[in-house]
């Protein structure tokens, strides 16, 4: 009879995730037992408190490094700390936007246009289920960036996706669109996670181990059936690339970004990207590092196509949220060049880029929530004409964030793009740098077109106005603006910090 050995867990190192999960369970309990009157305030404070507490714990363990925190299932190393920290900071800013409950339906189960829905709106209640869902998604995202075996990766992938599918369907206005977005996101997401799992099966078959380190050893040793390795890499990549929305796996991105409630879009666009690219970086930099001849060619093609496609299609968009969605596709392409670089500079640049892009995205979508008419948000670009004359402050902030997306100097976007392209150049991949710079130029055209539309076109008299933001939304937008400028002018502190941390352990 074999003896049972208890698994040993380093609770201090796992604490950031455990705190978030504990907060999530707590909010579920509050959801069941607290009265409706005090629930919104309590849920919001618990959510924010949890995230801040987790961030504090993360700061305390920032110099730790361990492969055995959870019996080899997760790695606590520099990039793990940085990426978890980025997810948490973006989540805190995202929750400030989500706190505007006016965006969410009161009763998701009520049929749109029914008596039940009218009654629930008149009751003046607020939807608070969004907070536990957010916390579970955040926990999944954090776990996704630190997982070092295929089981944990798969569970984390589902843990971050399932709450997001539901959150996408909770909009108060235009509910049919929102539900449709949820359906599309769910079906395509489930489809892609099946690909991920099938790829994981073949990697397991190839190496006989489910850990990334085991796969790395098999690749280095050259043992095993290389067909299994190829099938595994391709299918696993499809699953991962779907989550970040690169061409040809981008079909869901514009629809979901447009249909989902804007605060959810902001949170999802910023934090999911960090989580998914975190996992991609870890997998490709550790497990597949020595098989780069197998994956570099097709990832390069995907990156090139994504950058060009995203930038070109964004030009023809008439809707702000769709335009930002296509711009996020183009940014996924830029980020992929950092993965392909496969050097330390590429890793550092990717982490900086992810953080800078996430912050700017939250601010941009935060501003989208402010521009409204009597029907709710106005996302049609033609009705944003003349916004700069009506509300110069909001338009200026939005213009700055767009310039950051375009990569204009003195914004964080420029530093991000510059460092990611120089990392790619350093790795000897010159063609991808040329395409990257050219598509940035194309992208700059449509960002600047929006700025011209806002400042140099006469406003249309159609009831579009900028609402007075709540304090929390104001805080998100202000912080996003300040951080974007600060990172553009003084990037050195953060770049040095990232540089001192960014080494994967195997």
């Amino acid at each position: 009879m074999t003896t049972f050995t208890t698994p040993s867990l380093s609770y201090a190192l796992l604490a950031p995730i455990l705190i978030v999960l504990g907060g999530a369970v707590l909010t579920v309990i509050f959801e069941a037992f607290l009265s409706k009157a005090i629930r919104p305030l309590v849920q919001l404070s618990v959510t924010l408190g949890t995230l801040v507490l987790a961030l504090g714990q993360l700061w305390r363990i920032r110099n730790e490094s361990s492969l055995t925190a959870a019996m080899g299932s997760v790695a606590i190393d520099g990039p793990a700390i940085l990426l978890q920290g980025a997810v948490l900071i973006l989540a805190i800013l995202g929750v400030f936007l989500i706190a505007d409950e006016d965006q969410f339906t009161v009763q998701a189960a009520a049929i749109p246009g029914s008596q039940e829905e009218r009654e629930s709106i008149q009751s003046g209640e607020k939807l608070t289920e969004i907070y536990p869902l957010t916390l579970f998604a955040v926990a999944g995202m954090m776990l996704f960036t630190i997982s070092t075996d295929l089981i944990t990766l798969f569970v984390a992938l589902e843990m971050l996706s399932l709450p997001l599918y539901l959150m996408a369907g909770l909009a108060r206005r235009r509910r049919l669109l929102s539900q449709e977005a949820a359906l599309k996101y769910f079906l395509l997401g489930a489809f892609s996670s099946a690909f991920f799992l099938f790829g994981a099966a073949f990697l397991y078959g190839y190496s006989g181990s489910v850990s990334l380190a085991g796969i790395y050893d098999s690749v280095s040793g050259g043992t095993g059936n290389s067909v299994f390795l190829l099938v595994g890499i391709v299918f696993l990549s499809v699953g991962l690339l779907f989550k970040v929305g690169v061409v040809p796996f981008h079909a869901w991105t514009p629809d979901v970004y447009q249909g989902a409630p804007t605060p959810v879009t902001a949170f999802m666009a910023a934090a999911t990207k960090v989580a998914a690219f975190g996992a991609i970086l870890r997998i490709f930099y550790t497990a597949f590092a020595n098989a780069y001849w197998d994956w570099r060619p097709f990832l390069s093609v995907i990156a090139i196509v994504t950058m060009i496609f995203g930038s070109l299609v964004a030009i023809s968009q008439r809707d702000v949220k769709r335009m930002l969605a296509y711009s996020s596709i183009a940014h996924a392409g830029f980020l992929l060049t950092g993965v392909i670089a496969l050097n330390k500079a590429g890793l550092e640049a990717s982490i900086f880029y992810l953080f800078a892009y996430g912050i700017a995205t939250l601010g941009a979508f935060g501003i989208v929530t402010l521009v409204r008419d009597s029907q709710g948000e106005v996302t049609d670009l033609s009705r944003w004409a003349g916004l700069g004359k009506r509300s110069p402050l909001v338009a200026t902030v939005f213009a700055t964030l767009l310039l950051a997306f375009a990569g204009i100097p003195l914004t964080s976007g420029f530093i991000g793009k510059f460092s990611i392209f120089s990392a790619a150049y350093e790795s000897g991949n010159k063609s991808i740098v040329v395409v990257g710079v050219l598509s940035s130029a194309i992208a700059a055209y449509f960002y600047i077109r929006v700025i011209v539309l806002m400042f140099f076109t006469d406003p249309a008299e159609d009831g579009t106005s900028v609402t007075i933001p709540s304090n929390m939304t104001r805080l998100t937008i202000a912080l996003s603006f300040v951080i974007t400028i600060f990172l553009g002018v003084f990037p050195a502190p953060l770049l040095n910090f990232i540089s001192s941390m960014a080494i994967f352990i195997r």
Binding site: A109, I151, Q179, A190, A201, G208
Partner: protein
């Protein structure tokens, strides 16, 4: 029997599922096809566990079943909501977002 044959079965099941997701129009059927793909992956895991001679693959199969069950909960909630508001679960009719 050669365990590799099970890999062919698994690949076949996966392909049937993938083709089903692409061609079928009813959201429930699409979802069932996704489940078929997950089960194909499960079969591959168990087969590889046998080939490699360790139990990791069998453990993953259990994890997959649990995760698939969670996915059913979330997925059916979304599909039923769509059905209630539109009286149809067709994937094609949900096309307000296309332009």
């Amino acid at each position: 029997m050669n365990p590799e044959n099970y890999l062919y079965v698994s690949a076949l099941l996966f392909s049937i599922g993938a083709v089903g997701v692409v061609v079928r129009r009813n959201a429930i059927v699409v979802f069932m096809c996704v489940e078929l793909m997950l089960n194909a992956a499960n079969l591959a895991f168990v087969t590889f566990a046998r080939i490699n001679g360790n139990l990791d693959g069998q453990v993953i199969a259990f994890f997959t079943m649990v995760v698939a069950a969670c996915e059913v909960v979330v997925g059916l909630a979304i599909i039923v909501t769509i059905y209630r508001s539109r009286r149809s679960a067709s994937v094609d009719e949900a096309s307000l977002l296309k332009r």
